[in-house]
């Protein structure tokens, strides 16, 4: 079974803090994604990566950055956390191919910024 793990299930931070969210997948997938999930808005893509050291902006990258130094690990960084970044953060991975690139999700990190 594909396993995607996220470093924390729940996280509470203060405004202005630098926050690191870590994601690790064990299936040698090329693609990794960071989403945030908010009620009524569904999933919105923050950043994604096709390969090590490669990244592309998603739909809402402002206030976030990412790092992918190893294939299995994709980190989301909030440079200076703000209250409007309180949300559920979901990491996913997938492998490209002709049969469609199913995304496999981690359990999520619920971040609260006070």
């Amino acid at each position: 079974d594909v396993k995607v793990t996220q470093s924390s299930r729940y996280l509470v931070k203060r405004t202005g803090e630098k926050v690191f969210l870590e994601c690790v997948q064990d299936m040698d997938h090329e693609n990794m994604f960071w989403y945030r999930q908010d009620p009524g808005l569904g999933l919105r893509l923050i950043y994604f990566s096709y390969d090590v050291k490669m990244k592309e902006k998603g739909d809402i990258p402002e206030g976030y950055s990412v790092s992918r130094e190893k294939k299995e690990r994709f980190s989301l960084i909030l440079e200076s956390a703000s209250t409007n970044q309180t949300s559920m953060y979901l990491c996913a991975s997938s492998s490209p191919g002709p049969i469609g690139d199913t995304q496999y999700f981690g359990p999520g990190t619920r971040l609260t910024v006070l």
Binding site: L41, G42, L43, L90, G100, Q103, G106, P107, G108
Partner: protein
């Protein structure tokens, strides 16, 4: 531009009755379509996908979905609902030859199955 719509925020159905969760999409070419389910305090789990071929796709937990190109729809169905099917359901789409692996997700539909 790609888009996906789930017109119902919530669907209520009695246990044992058939259920339908609606999804419509817009892409410029052929679509890849997915359904995912999210149980409370969990990540999303893959249910089924349409890539090509038979318009009726069968997936996990007895769910199926029908791809309708003329109506640009991919509704999720199950013949007999269970209380344990209560969850949040997401439809996702991308254009097959878009050159990107970026998917667009719907806003989600909460399914409540009443005992």
């Amino acid at each position: 531009a790609q888009s996906v719509a789930q017109p119902e925020d919530q669907v209520n159905v009695a246990e044992g009755n058939p259920l339908t969760v609606k999804c419509t999409y817009s892409v410029s070419g052929n679509p890849y379509l997915f359904w995912y389910v999210q149980y409370p305090n969990r990540g999303l789990q893959f249910l089924l996908k349409y890539i090509t071929g038979d318009n009726l796709v069968k997936g996990s937990y007895g769910f199926e979905a029908e791809f309708n190109k003329s109506q640009t729809s991919f509704h999720l169905k199950k013949p007999s609902a269970l209380v344990s099917d209560s969850a949040l359901y997401f439809c996702a789409v991308r254009e097959a030859t878009s050159g990107t692996y970026k998917y667009i997700f719907g806003t989600g539909t909460r399914l409540k199955v009443l005992a």
